[in-house]
Amino acid sequence: MNRIMPYLRLLMRRDSILVIVITAMIGITVIYPLSIMVLGTFKSTPPGEPSPLTLNNYVTMFSSDWFWTELGHTIWISVGGTILGVFLGVSMAWIVTRTDTPWVGKLEIPLIVPFFLSPFIGALAWTGLASADYGLINGWFEALFGVRPFEIFGPWGIIWVMGLYYSPYAFLIVSGTLRNMDPTLEEAAMSAGANKLQTMLRVTLPLMAPGILASAILIFVAAAEQFGIPSVLAMNQRWYVLTTRIFYFLRGYPQDYSMGATVAMVMLVFTGGMVFMRNRIMRHREFVTVGGKSFRPHVIPLGKWGYVALSYLLAYIILSVILPFGTFIAISFFKFWSIHPKMKYLTLDNWRYILFEYPTTWVAIKNSLLLSIGGAAIAVLISAVIAWVVVRSKAFGKDALDTIATLPVAVPGLILGVAYLWAWIRSPIPVYGTIWILMIAYVSRFIPYSLRSIESTLRQIDKGLEESANISGASWLRTFWSVSLPLLKPGLVAGYILLFVTFIRELSCSILLYSSESVVFSVTMFDLWRDGMFPKLAVIGTLQLFITVAVLMLFSWIFKIRITEVVK
């Protein structure tokens, strides 16, 4: 008994209880559904019905043609999207941080705007630009040269859209690396006799390598688990990737929950493996390159080439933001969108219909706002508590908590949706089909993102600040409320905004879990797209866009924070 007492006492401490409660919560919302899904891969019946365990699903899948073809497709678009995204991101990061390209300072914010935009809308908008049937750019080319050179539908279109909208990940990571790099590391190479090219190849580039690798893996995983882009750009063409195949199994006819789960299992192992690999690589390759007194990094004078670099950056902004989103908004005012849009088709009917007649609109707006504003708040609150326990307390099992809370990073949204279907579609708890299942899915899936931003802020706050509150008599809770929380504000706001923009555009989780009462923006757009009502979905998308911008502006005004700080 005496031996157990110290352990018991440790377990009974308030922070230990907190650890247990949060761990249990994540267990129920992530690990339990995933386990049920894994079990489902060994069953031949839909969720909730008894079935002998069998390996048939795996046998069928691995011996089928479609699986290998679509695995190949997934790898193809992921590799392509990664190459394009990393190339765009790294080249722009280098131009912005290391050259004297004109106006570069003014372009930094526009360059990260795509980070906040929905790639799903990006894909929809790009069909209006580069579809062979009704793409605007094809229209321009036809008028000039008599050909329609582009076709956005298909793998190349997917790679193009992914590259455009995922390049900010590489841009942000690599420009951070380049900015923080101690310039004397490069100067040392020069004084040792290396010229600019040798310095670049043998010192700068190797020092950038961990950042490039990290962003490549990040983009690769994001591309592989993408559902919105390949569903818009290839599903109607019957060109499937693993995510759209899972959707097909669960929402097509005939439904096959077990095969859906089995393919989802493959994806889970795949993304899990990538995330694990990334963590392994990063642990060994993270270079601390921040030096002592810092002179500004060496800027390469580009001369006339500066304008070429400037055009490159501008072209990126035009192709990723101005052209697609301008077109998208324009489409919402047309009766028909065609390769040569005619003025006589200009109309407000779409807007009138969506705002006043379409029954789903206001439900979607209400749900999306509740989920994004409320869900982000809940997620940030939980993350703040987890971060505090992990960084500051000596609670029992806090490292395990950190690992478990970060685990959902490796679970693609669509796969979490599959798991939730399996776990709760026949559950006695009446959560399936309500907005709350979406809320739980969003929060548990995306806690790792806000957790990371809050944890890193907390690690930078000197522990003494909290200890001096303790010593002057403040309780544990009071210290958190009056000292830690205000100091954490930048991290909290950054985490909140990040989750807000993620939640308001969420598609891949919602698409499997929504009902007519719990529709959200992206799901509504997806449905309208399947019904072939492009101009009407453009209205919904435009609404989503404007609401996002309005809330972000409101937020940056209330909390006096610049949006660019969010992505640091």
């Binding site: 101690d182 100067e187 040392a188 190479a189 004084s191 040792a192 006799g193």
Partner: protein, 363 residues
């Protein structure tokens, strides 16, 4: 090994003139220190010499080679100047092993594999890090990284060695040891060296010649003893070591010495010195180092430069007493290694020998 000449170097950053017309000559094989407070332009001067900043005016020669000339628009790239440099942050490349770091300059120079091994081994032996050969920079200490940076800077036998506050990130004990090691190493290879520091002790220990810089100008140059015992202006006197100033004017000046009338508020007296640098009527600062003020409990026999005083503060620093005495409202700092029995607040006498009174002319 070559000499270095810098002529009328000027460097501006926007409206700020960081270096305002600096002339430096460093003879072959000598070690010269640029000493000054932060922002005095010493690092900028070094960076102009290295080629990382291009100066606005002036010329720089290394040996017979003109490497920089603002008028002829000559500005040799850093890698063509044949210099070795050690940075404050060491700048040891984190992605290369110790060996690869040191071998880098040789590989750039396309030196044969065998020769590379030989030269790197020799450099590592010289700085005493043979056993670290295959380690990564993240696996060695700051002091060891510093040695790697050093080995890397000398391995290719450059004409000039530039050291930019190389010791300022080390802890006090190691710093003291490294001073002597650097000096020993420099003597052994006999390389022309420019050393930038804000630490006067470092400058004293290391230099053949010290150049004291302030506001982008060289305010005094000389060997370390000269700089300490014969400062030419208020800034140098104050910056190097500690000193007391007594404001006054030269009353009389003869061959054997001068008399200065002290015109401090409250403290009006005459002080004798053996210096004869200034003519009668010149306003001067009579400057006395703390260790040259002698404290007596009773009135000493000598009459000259003797005043009654009161002990205001006494701190024992271990091996040294640091005190403040007050003479008619003027506080003077004194130091002595001998035991002082007098208590704080007690009356004492101070005496200063005429040979220890320096004169610095002021306007």
């Amino acid at each position: 090994m070559r000499n270095v000449r810098i002529e009328k170097l000027v460097k501006r950053f926007g409206n700020v003139t960081a270096v305002a017309g600096v002339d430096i000559t460093i003879p072959e094989g000598k070690i010269v220190t640029l000493l000054g407070p932060s922002g005095c332009g010493k690092t900028t001067t070094l960076r102009c010499l290295a080629g990382f900043e291009s100066a606005d005016e002036g010329k720089i020669w290394i040996g017979d080679q003109l490497v920089f000339d603002s008028k002829q628009k000559i500005n040799l790239a850093p890698q063509k100047r044949d210099m070795g440099m050690v940075f404050q942050s060491y700048a040891v490349w984190p992605h290369m092993s110790v060996f690869e770091n040191i071998a880098f300059p040789l590989r750039i120079r396309k030196i044969s594999r065998q020769k590379v091994n030989e030269l790197v081994e020799r450099a590592m032996r010289m700085v005493g890090i043979e056993e670290l050969k295959d380690r990564l920079p993240s696996e060695i200490s700051g002091g060891q990284q510093q040695r790697v940076a050093f080995a890397r800077a000398i391995v290719y036998d450059p004409a000039v060695l530039l050291l930019d506050e190389p010791l300022s990130n080390l802890d006090a004990k190691l710093r003291e040891r490294m001073r002597f090691e650097i000096l020993e190493l420099q003597r052994k290879i006999g390389i022309t060296t420019v050393y930038v520091t804000h630490d006067q002790e470092e400058a004293m220990v290391l230099s053949d010649e010290v150049l004291v810089m302030d506001c982008g100008k060289i305010v005094q140059r000389g060997d370390p003893e000269e700089i300490y015992f014969d400062p030419r202006n208020e800034f140098v006197a104050d910056f190097i070591g500690k000193i007391n100033f007594l404001r006054g004017a030269v009353l009389s000046c003869r061959d054997c010495g001068s008399v200065v009338s002290i015109r401090e508020e409250g403290f009006q007296s005459e002080i004798h010195t053996i210096r004869t640098d200034y003519a009668e009527g010149q306003k001067v600062l009579a400057s006395i180092r703390p260790e040259n003020i002698i404290i007596y409990p009773d009135k000493p026999q000598a009459e000259v430069n003797t005043w009654p005083a009161r002990l205001v503060r006494k701190n024992f620093l271990g091996g040294l007493f640091d005190m403040v005495v007050e003479v008619k409202g003027k506080e003077l700092r004194c130091r002595t290694p001998f035991r002082v029995e007098a208590k704080i607040g007690s009356d004492v006498y101070i005496q200063i020998q005429p040979k220890d009174v320096l004169l610095i002319g002021i306007n």
